[in-house]
């Protein structure tokens, strides 16, 4: 019987082609939207993790309360010992020290007089250790525009845009004017090793990257740092794993009555990130519901038109002795076949476009020129395992639902009218 139905579907293009096209289009859009949003939101989250939040982050209670001000006077002390302990407790975590800093960057002329000045927002990372993965983590290996990466603690990288503004280039001397963690004025000379294009508008305006040892010297932060960032072994944020680590760390090390005791915070609890995560959680459901709803209505209508076209066929089948329930179920069976074929086609098309956007990306740099958010300028889709089956949910359900609604008419047929209906 299934073979018989399948033959009918293959031959009657008006019965199969239109629904398959609708399902394929809906599924392709679902897959594309899913991959795009997964890519965009995932990239935003991972970028935030890599630059500022880690998957979990250790600070002091006091720093955490005022972190928007980057208060290095409230930084963690004895960090090497703390890192050793944390690494022992959580051997799979990748742990790095970070110091965020701000100040005035002075560009002197040949005589040492100020030529140009600009406000700088910097991060210091481990640039010089042999095993450091920080350049890869911040994804700036390919972002070098001029010069080279720092090889000494007094060498820095500047954003290409910022360097142009201050008329600086590789080899230029700059002076960082800021304050130490104890509140004293700090004036430290650095050499520009190279310039980079961060690909994030906020960092491109005034960004600076320095080796952490150089900044520890400048800010008088020996064996201290603003934050300790920890990354999960999978390189991808997993909230459940992060909660476990956060809770066990805080139970062991954190003392709420000591504002200088360490406290761990997971990425989701960082400002604005919770909303992103909730959005991602809800996004798939919303996306499926929208396409399920829209496609069901269209397919219901298509089913009604098909029902009119097949009025005679259903009548004959009833007269021959096929039960109404059997006809109804056979139509649902047909719709499942249509749903599967449409979903496969739609998924292939959706994955094709997603792959293209994953590889090429969409550059939105022009749109976020003034953005203060840490967002990448090129948005890319991301094909995950879920993308291979997510489209089947709206694809199959919509066509089955549409058929179920339109097929109700079968139960309203009166067999007593069949001769009259079929003889006209």
């Amino acid at each position: 019987m299934i073979r018989f139905l399948f033959k009918g579907l293959l031959r009657d293009k008006t019965r199969s082609l239109m629904p398959i096209l609708i399902v394929a289009a809906g599924v392709a859009l679902t897959v594309l939207m899913y991959c795009y949003m997964t890519g965009v939101l995932g990239e935003m989250i991972e970028t935030t993790a890599n630059y500022s939040a880690g998957h979990v982050k250790i600070m002091t209670h006091a720093y955490k309360k005022n972190k928007a001000q980057v208060p290095n006077d409230l930084a963690l002390l004895n960090v090497n010992e703390l890192i050793s302990k944390v690494q022992k407790d959580y051997p799979t975590l990748k742990i790095v020290k970070r110091i965020n800093f701000g100040g005035l960057l002075d560009s002197p002329d040949e005589t040492g007089e100020t030529k140009k000045q600009g406000i700088v927002a910097g991060i210091s990372i481990d640039l010089l250790s042999k095993n450091s993965k920080e350049l890869d983590r911040l994804n700036i290996r390919d972002a070098l525009r001029k010069g080279r990466f720092p090889e000494k603690s007094n060498e820095v990288l500047l954003s290409d845009q910022f360097a142009d503004k201050l008329e600086l280039g590789p080899g230029s001397k700059v002076t960082l004017i800021t304050s130490t963690m104890y509140g004293a004025m700090s004036i430290q000379n650095f050499v520009v090793a190279g310039t980079i294009d961060f690909g994030m508008e906020m960092m491109d305006r005034s960004g600076m990257i320095a080796d952490i040892t150089g900044i520890q010297d400048a800010l008088d932060m020996k064996n201290a740092c603003s934050e300790i960032l920890c990354f999960l072994e999978s390189h991808t944020y997993d909230d459940l794993e992060a909660i476990d680590i956060e809770q066990s760390f805080n139970a062991k090390y954190s003392d709420i009555n000591d504002e200088f005791s360490p406290v761990m915070s997971r990425l989701k609890n960082e400002s604005m990130m919770s909303g992103y995560f909730d959005y991602i959680d809800n996004f798939v459901g919303i996306l499926i519901f929208i396409f399920l709803f829209a496609m069901s209505i269209v397919l219901w209508n298509t089913g009604l038109i098909g029902g009119l076209r097949r009025y005679g066929e259903v009548g004959v089948r009833l007269a021959i002795g096929e039960e109404k329930g059997h006809i109804y179920r056979s139509m649902i069976m047909e719709s499942i076949l249509i749903g599967i074929v449409g979903s496969v086609i739609g998924t292939i098309i959706g994955l094709g476009f997603s792959y293209w956007i994953q590889e090429v990306g969409i550059n939105i740099g022009g749109m976020i020129k003034d953005s203060k958010m840490m967002v990448p300028t090129v948005f890319r889709a991301k094909i995950t395992d879920t993308a291979y089956y997510i489209g089947f949910v709206p694809g199959l359900f919509s066509v089955v639902l549409g058929t179920m609604l339109s097929g109700i008419g079968i139960y309203k047929r009166k067999t007593a009218q069949l001769f009259k209906e079929l003889d006209t």
Binding site: M1, F4, K7, G8, R11, D12, R15, G312, E313, G315, V316, R317, L318, A319, I320, G321, E322, E323, K324, H326, T415, A416, L418, F419, K420, L422, D423, T424
Partner: protein
């Protein structure tokens, strides 16, 4: 009930509601049909022919009285059992053929057998036999749109006959055919009636059909006004 008696109808009444009143389509019908009859319900439009055919075919139920088809009380049959009766024992032929357009001749004839879960090899033999009876073995791959009206009606006859039903009900089967095709179809049905002992019951007012009938039941205003056995020359 006699052993070869297929259908017994006693005091059958069929009413249809019209507004607050009712219209009586059949009024006090008493009839019996035996195995191998070639009978026709004849009469003008509105005389109740199709209504009676509906009740015999378990497509409708009587308002009053009793209709027994193959030992089953039509008035007491539920929808499921009515469908089973039609599926197993009744064949239907319509005025406008009603073939499934996307399927081939072979598949159209095969369809009733799929509903009774016959094995593939048995199905193939039964379909080829049925197409052989109607002389269409050379058209098995054709679609209905590629056939003439006469050929379509022959396929419809094959579809009705393929499961070798005890009773075939035909409503104006020649209304859309020219004279030559009508005679061919009727001769073929007579042959099947004689060879397979299938009971044929027609609802018709077509003189071409009437002249082939062995029994003519004339209906007027829902009542039988004449029930006549037509004897052949041989019987005379």
């Amino acid at each position: 009930m006699e052993q070869n008696q297929l259908i017994t109808i006693n005091n059958l009444v069929k009413n249809f509601p019209i507004g607050k009143g009712k219209f009586t389509a059949l009024n006090g019908i008493n009839l019996t049909f035996k195995t191998g009859e070639f009978a026709g319900l004849v009469g003008p439009s509105g005389s109740g022919k199709t209504t009676l055919l509906n009740i015999i075919g378990s497509l409708d139920i009587p308002s009053e009285g009793y209709a027994n088809v193959l030992g089953m009380n039509i008035g007491k049959l539920n929808i499921k059992n009515a469908a089973i009766l039609r599926r197993l024992h009744l064949g239907f032929i319509f005025q406008t053929y009603n073939l499934l357009p996307v399927y081939s001749v072979y598949e159209n004839v095969e369809f009733p057998l799929l509903l009774i879960n016959m094995s593939a090899s048995q199905r193939k033999k039964a379909v080829m036999d049925a197409l052989d009876w109607v002389g269409l073995t050379d058209k098995i791959k054709s679609r209905p749109a590629q056939l003439s009206g006469g050929e379509c009606q022959r396929v419809a006859v094959a579809r009705a006959m393929v499961k070798k039903p005890k009773i075939v009900l035909a409503d104006e089967p020649t209304a859309n055919l020219d004279a030559a095709n009508s005679h061919n179809i009727l001769k073929m049905m007579m042959k099947l009636n004689e060879e397979l002992k299938t009971t044929f019951i027609f609802a018709t007012h077509d003189e071409k059909v009437i002249q082939y009938l062995k029994r003519k039941i004339k209906l007027e205003d829902g009542k039988i006004v004449k029930d006549e056995i037509i004897k052949t020359n041989k019987e005379l």
